[in-house]
């Protein structure tokens, strides 16, 4: 004699064994299974037939597990992104406070000081643009090689610029100590912004490239 409750319990065990361990999706799937069985029986199927049809309609356990795993990975990545956003904001806050403090401490003319504060503001603004505005103008890049190339170009170009500034630009300029401080502040903007922008463009692609369900 077919025992429906036992069959449902066995199906649940199969789901657990396949890796659908979170209680919420499993409970939801079981509720769905029961509704489908009820509907099938209402249409005239016997208990066993209704159960087998409902299980077939729910789909293969491995495919379901893969889909739920993608969501788990997605939410883990979201948590990491949130943590990275908080840490980056703190670092930028510290940068703004520390460099503003330096500008007040150094013996600078009023123009130099204003240019220094403008550099700090420009740095914050450029990071904000790289974070909120720039990724909008880039397409979703799914090719890993292109993503790596963008990351590499962003990181290297920032460093190359800094070396050019230190070894080629600075020796040709006869800066006073005050002017040197201000020039360094401005020179640091691409060093920070270029890698940040390239990272955020790649991150946008990763976030929006959400694999379609395998219906």
């Amino acid at each position: 004699m077919f025992d429906l409750e036992q069959a449902i319990a066995d199906w649940r065990q199969q789901m657990l064994a396949a890796g659908i361990k979170s209680p919420a999706p499993l409970e939801e799937l079981e509720i769905h299974l029961r509704e489908e069985i009820e509907q099938q029986m209402f249409s005239g199927a016997n208990k066993q037939g209704a159960f087998e049809n409902a299980v077939a309609r729910i789909g293969r356990t491995n495919s379901l597990q893969q889909e739920f795993q993608k969501i788990n990975n997605f939410s883990k990545a979201e948590k990491q992104r949130r943590a990275a956003a908080i840490i980056s904001t703190l670092i930028l806050g510290c940068y703004a406070v520390f460099f503003s403090g330096l500008l007040l401490k150094f013996d600078l003319t009023i123009n130099e000081r204003l240019l220094g504060f403008a550099a700090v503001a420009a740095m914050l603004l450029s990071v904000f643009i790289a974070w909120r505005i720039l990724p909008r103008f880039f397409p979703v890049i799914t090719n890993k090689t292109v993503q790596s190339a963008i990351g590499l170009i962003g990181g290297i170009s920032g460093m190359v610029w800094f070396f050019v500034f230190v070894y080629l630009v600075l020796p040709r300029c006869n800066f006073t100590p005050g002017q040197l401080v201000v020039a360094l502040f401005w020179a640091l903007i691409p060093v920070i912004t270029l890698p940040t922008a390239s990272f955020l463009v790649i991150d946008k692609s990763e976030r929006q490239h959400i694999t379609s369900a395998n219906f």
Partner: protein, 110 residues
């Protein structure tokens, strides 16, 4: 039979559009899609739930546990503000594709 890539691509706009009419739950969503497509859009039932959960993670929809008239536990989903915006975007894109296809089809009969 509709290709599975097209079925998968249409899942999100269909779910968002159904939820725009009011909150609903997995089983009812599947039945309504089936009925509205005369059984031609036949989803693998279980696959709807990862789609719903993903949309919830992305902040497009929200869920709450409730009870049916018969006392059965059910998880109800409803549309959020971002979901409405995503639905409008989907409509715009699908209408554009529909328009281009219709135009091309008409030209074939001229």
């Amino acid at each position: 039979m509709i290709r599975k890539e097209l079925v998968a691509a249409s899942a999100e706009p269909l779910v968002l559009s159904l939820l725009a009419k009011g909150e609903s739950y997995g089983y009812a969503i599947i039945q309504e899609v089936k009925a509205r497509s005369d059984g031609k859009l036949n989803w693998t039932d279980g696959m709807l739930y990862p789609v719903l959960h993903r949309m919830e993670h992305r902040g497009l929809i929200k869920s709450r546990w409730g009870e049916s008239e018969t006392g059965r536990k059910r998880k109800y989903y409803s549309l959020k503000k971002d979901g409405k915006a995503a639905m409008d975007k989907h409509h715009e894109h699908w209408m554009l594709i529909h328009g281009v296809l219709s135009g091309l089809k008409k030209e074939q009969y001229v």
